[in-house]
């Protein structure tokens, strides 16, 4: 008997004898997962309920008189729009700088064999493992010396650099999957490497570029510590910092507004994340990042 036939027969016996135990296992798995799910949702429930409850406290309760008063209260330029605009500038700027540098770096690394490539890529990978929190104290000192403190542009360049190693690594992987033959034809026609990159390679990897852009954007949008240290004037601070300073002072009275603000500030990243994961599957986006 061949192994395949043996296996098929074994499978048949197992489904007949193990059918009920398998469905029982499935039931237990579902129950266990549901418990885990409830535990993970519980802390978020407060956020959702308090946002529509003008009398919200720290307790999770169904609002007695639900209203959008909390949202109305935070929907003003001073509190919401300017910080969100700052967040947008900061995140989009970071993502653009990051993507430009990463694409330029990834091209020669992906297309030309060189003794320089491997050591560079491993150094970059090593760079991804530096704890950014730990370098904030020295970065502050450095920014004071260079008089870059409270500068939007400098903060953008710094944030772009902290995610650059990961972005180079991901971009190179995406670029490696674009076949080189198409460019060779363009080179024959006398196109320069940069022209080939722009007209052939980038359009073919635009999905991958989208993933890297969104990946960097989400990280920058949610970043609290970096702008907290580097941006001092309130009119430059992004939502992450303004929410902290406002509710740090007024939180004791405005739980509902805090929740409403948090939701409005979170929606963009939730949408972007859904876009990426729907478009290409979690494991795909992640394998670009983790597996290398």
């Amino acid at each position: 008997m061949t192994t395949r036939a043996l296996r098929a027969q074994l499978r048949k016996t197992s489904t007949t004898s193990g059918g009920s135990s398998r469905s029982r296992a499935r039931l237990w798995a579902n129950i266990a997962l549901a418990v885990v799910g409830v535990c993970f949702v519980a802390p978020l429930l407060w956020l959702l309920l308090a946002a529509v409850d003008p009398q919200a406290g720290y307790q999770t309760q169904v609002p007695s008189s639900p209203s959008i008063a909390n949202f109305a209260a935070v929907l003003n330029p001073e509190l919401l729009f300017r910080p969100l605009a700052n967040s947008l500038w900061l995140s989009a700027g970071t993502a653009v700088v990051n993507l430009l540098a990463a694409v330029l770096a990834a091209y020669p690394l992906s297309r030309y064999q060189s003794r320089f490539n491997k050591p560079f890529m491993y150094t970059v990978l090593f760079g991804t493992s530096l704890p950014v929190t730990a370098i904030m104290v020295p970065v502050y000192g450095l920014f004071v010396q260079l008089q870059l403190l409270d500068s939007m542009a400098a903060t953008i360049f710094f944030m772009a650099t902290t995610t650059l190693p990961m972005a180079i690594w991901m971009t190179k992987n995406f670029m490696d999957s674009v076949p080189v033959e198409l460019e060779e034809a363009a080179w024959m026609d006398g196109a320069s490497a940069m022209a080939a990159l722009r007209t052939i390679v980038l359009p073919l990897m635009r999905q991958g570029l989208g993933v890297v852009f969104i990946f960097v954007f989400i990280q920058a949008w949610g970043n609290f510590f970096v702008p907290f240290i580097l941006l001092l004037s309130p009119d430059k601070q992004p939502a992450a910092v303004s929410i902290f300073s406002f509710f740090g002072q007024h939180g004791a009275i405005a739980y509902g507004q805090l929740a409403a603000f948090s939701i409005l500030y979170s929606v963009p990243v939730l949408l972007l994340y859904t876009l990426v994961s729907r478009g290409m599957g979690n494991s795909f986006a992640l394998s670009g990042a983790v597996k290398g």
């Binding site: 802390p43 990463a102 090593f126 502050y140 000192g141 772009a160």
Partner: protein, 289 residues
């Protein structure tokens, strides 16, 4: 190497400049400043003096550093290595045998905590562990009066919060890894009468051991750098009871204005990151010759 070949590498230069200026320079400056008495304001800010290893010696005479190092170790071991890693693996394993609807709903719940901006997650966790918060409400339902978690058990609170926040990453890594495990292999073991636990320890886990080490390295590094969650929930308190090294470096530098000592603590953290980073790169290199 001809000039033409060197020219090809020109586009890498912007990245190299950025990395040198904003990553390498701060690291170098951190090690340098940790040997000075640099301050946040005043004379020590303008003209820092070389003090040798004084800042490092102070770490061992000071009470706060050994405590902080110990808290960091407990925090990383409990919330990353045990919490996120084991829970993430467990969820991924359960998902292989649960219904698709349940698994995608739970997956969304777990990922939501991870995708939210860290300050929002921190506020939600703060409210949850508050004396009047949701956790005590649930505990109250079974008739127990819950403690003030953030005050009486700050370390437990931040460990649970970080597990909640970060498990999604491990879950995603393990889901991807388990999807690559050939079904035949685990089924063949089933036929041989291998019981569930044996199958897990002798077949599944060895097959995904590469993903396990990668995951452990990455979540350890992420957890070493956690600041916002702790800062919002407990600000390191009460009385330093939840001050990890990341929080300590911040406090020394910005609250007490001692940049020199702050960078010394930061340098220790950077060194730890470098050690883990070097191991991580090594492991990946061995796997992909």
């Amino acid at each position: 190497m001809t000039i033409r070949r060197a020219m090809r590498l020109l586009p890498v230069i912007p990245s190299i400049l950025l990395l040198l200026l904003f990553l390498l320079a701060p690291v170098a400056w951190s090690f340098y400043a940790s040997f000075t008495d640099a301050g946040l304001t005043g004379k020590a800010a303008k003209d820092p003096q070389w003090v040798g290893a004084e800042n490092y010696l102070r770490m061992f005479s000071d009470d706060s550093f050994p405590l902080s190092a110990w808290l960091t170790l407990v925090f990383v071991a409990a919330s990353a290595v045990l919490g996120q890693n084991i829970l993430g693996l467990l969820i991924a394993l359960l998902m292989t045998r649960s219904g698709t609807v349940v698994s995608s709903l739970v997956g969304t719940a777990v990922v939501a905590a991870w995708v939210l901006p860290e300050i929002v997650a921190a506020f939600a966790a703060y409210a949850y562990f508050n004396r009047d918060g949701t956790l005590n409400q649930m505990v109250g339902m079974v008739g127990i009066e819950g403690p003030d978690w953030l005050y009486s058990f700050p370390l437990v609170a931040i460990i649970l919060a970080n597990t909640w926040r970060g498990t999604a990453f491990s879950m995603l890594v393990y889901r991807a890894a388990l999807a690559d495990v050939p079904r035949d292999i685990s089924e063949a073991a089933l036929m041989d009468g291998a019981r569930g636990w044996q199958r897990l320890t002798f077949i599944t886990l060895p097959l995904i051991r590469g993903s396990i080490t990668t995951n452990l390295m990455l979540i350890t590094l992420q957890t070493l750098a956690v600041f916002t969650l702790i800062w919002v929930m407990t600000a390191g308190g009460p009385a330093n009871a939840s001050t990890t090294l990341a929080v300590l470096a911040y406090q020394e530098a910005f609250k007490f204005g001692d940049i020199g000592y702050g960078t010394a603590v930061a340098s220790v953290l950077i060194l730890l990151g470098m050690i883990f980073g070097a191991i991580y790169v090594r492991l990946l290199r061995e796997r992909r010759p």
